[in-house]
């Protein structure tokens, strides 16, 4: 698999795409997110697996998101994500509130190619009551005469999953280590596009010690090289989240004007560094 440019990588993402993104601690492709912002692809439907932070806030602030399904959106230790909060309270964003395991389970249904997945909990919460797409069924295997209601979640099948990882090989195998929610995302999605810190020679599947931490290329549609592609978020053991940068973002993005100013500066900075 030949690595592609960032611009070519994001090609499968079109207006209305159901786009799966990982949590801030897992490997977020800020590089591809900025390419999306630059291209101005709107009407996105985001699925956070199961939460998001800076990435969702950037895309929402840039006006590219119509709908978001997430268990939470926050900027790490700093708390609420400002553009997300503003978009929800102004009614600009269609929010599908959910809970972390419901997202994992609904993606697992797609992994298995089945239409739904049952899940414990949820019944009687306002999360459940505001999700007409979820159903409550009686456990057909319950003991005779016993009632055992359980929630059924329809499978989530993202059009595209997007994340950032440390390493890919030239076959398109991607090292994800123990961040296996990335595997779930990729298994469930129709296409998976990945940015990486580096592309190495040799096969990542060749060594038994590393093979289990690899997302194999059968799930990977395209890979692009993007050094520091998760910054200012962190990546595995390579680099930590830049707390000061996130704090500056949180402060700037309190207003729409401040957000756009921050974004312009950030994109210029990335261009200069590239």
């Amino acid at each position: 698999m030949t690595p592609v440019s960032l611009e070519a990588l994001i090609d499968p993402i079109r207006p209305g795409t159901l786009l799966a993104i990982p949590p801030d601690y897992s490997g977020v492709s800020i590089a591809a997110t900025l390419a999306l912002v630059a291209r101005g692809i709107g009407g996105l439907r985001l699925v956070a697996v199961p939460t998001s932070g800076l990435q969702a806030d950037l895309l929402i602030g840039a006006g590219l998101v119509d709908e978001l399904e997430a268990a939470a959106v926050l900027l790490g230790e700093l708390g609420p994500a400002p553009r997300f909060a503003a978009a929800v309270t102004s009614g600009k964003l269609r929010m599908k509130d959910t809970t972390c395991p419901a997202l994992h389970a609904a993606l697992q249904a797609s992994e298995k190619g089945v239409p739904f997945m049952p899940l414990r909990g949820l019944i009687g919460s306002d999360v459940q009551k505001n999700r007409p797409d979820w159903k409550i069924a009686d456990n057909p295997f319950a003991a005779d005469g016993a009632r055992d209601p359980i929630v059924l979640l329809p499978a989530i099948r993202p059009d595209v999953a997007l994340f950032h990882a440390t390493t890919a090989d030239r076959e398109g195998n991607v090292w994800i280590g123990r961040r296996r929610e990335l595997v779930t995302m990729a298994h469930a999605a129709k296409q998976t596009i990945v940015t990486v810190e580096e592309i190495v020679d040799g096969s990542l599947l060749g060594d038994e010690a590393t093979a289990a931490g690899v997302l194999p290329s059968i799930y990977v549609s395209a890979v692009a090289d993007a050094k520091d592609g998760a910054c200012p978020l962190g990546l595995q053991d390579l680099y930590s989240v830049d707390d000061a940068a996130i704090a500056r973002y949180a402060e700037s993005a309190r207003t729409e004007a401040g957000f756009h100013e921050w974004l312009a500066q950030f994109m210029n900075g990335r261009k200069a560094a590239a």
């Binding site: 697996v49 199961p50 230790e77 929800v88 419901a102 909990g121 019944i123 919460s125």
Partner: protein, 245 residues
């Protein structure tokens, strides 16, 4: 940060974890996390699974593993908070106002709408104890304190620890019961700052501080351990840097 108060809260949560073998710690939980690590420092058989940590988190199967473990009954204790908490143990992590047209947005429900049902000992923790947080009825139920009898529910609220006091939760009565007040507080001051009605234990004492030997353990080993996941918290409270290993 008021160091004495924070250490008192860590000690309070620590005592509520007594007897737990496997403790999971979620997002934004430095005080519960410190309490869990303190228990482990004293009882090495304790397992702590702290979200966001590499060193104190043994999961290898991605974000779903905690939830799968919890549904199987492998997790003994977990912590939840809330932008609002009401007298029936309902918690709101979503926002204020009539959903979906809310007027103020919180981050979201996280795993609460599930873990509150399946983890036997959920400790509610919210430092701010005011009538705006402790309300008669939450605006949005991220997770309910109690469920209808037919709903599968081995878990639920065990206690509520705040910056003023400790409540136990009585499942049968669906009510909190005041157990102890922190130094400087009284039953009256708690009532004044609580929007919901609650019961009062026959003997409401002052919340006990940690023993000196436990405090030393907290300020030493535990401070270094918590700094990996909560560097700002550890610096502010203990002046601690991440422990070298």
């Amino acid at each position: 940060m008021d160091r004495a108060r924070t250490e008192l809260l860590i000690g309070t949560v620590y005592r509520l974890l007594e007897g737990c073998r496997t403790i999971a710690v979620g997002n934004s939980s430095p005080i519960p996390g410190s309490a869990a690590l303190l228990l482990r420092a004293k009882r090495p058989e304790t397992r702590v699974l702290m979200l966001g940590s590499k060193k104190h988190n043994a999961f290898t199967d991605g974000g779903r593993e905690l939830f799968d473990c919890a549904a199987q009954g492998r997790i003994d204790a977990f912590f939840l908070g809330g932008g609002q908490i009401d007298g029936q143990g309902n918690i709101n992590l979503v926002g204020l106002g009539p959903y979906p047209r809310i007027t103020h947005r919180f981050p979201g429900s996280f795993g609460s709408a599930y873990l509150y049902y399946v983890v036997p000992r959920v400790i509610l923790f919210r430092e701010e104890h005011t009538a705006r947080v402790m309300v008669p009825k939450v605006d949005f139920v991220s997770a309910p304190g109690v469920s209808a009898p037919e709903v599968y529910r081995p878990g639920g609220p065990h206690a509520l620890v705040t910056g003023r006091c400790v409540f136990a939760f009585d499942k049968a009565k669906r009510r909190f019961r005041l157990e102890s007040v922190h130094p400087g507080e009284s039953i009256g001051s708690v009532r004044q700052n609580t929007g919901f009605d609650f019961d009062v234990a026959p003997q409401v004492g002052e919340t006990a501080p940690l023993a000196d030997s436990d405090l030393a353990l907290l300020r030493g080993r535990v401070a270094g351990e918590i700094a990996e996941t909560y560097p700002r918290f550890a610096r502010a409270l203990f002046g601690a840097q991440q422990a070298a290993e």
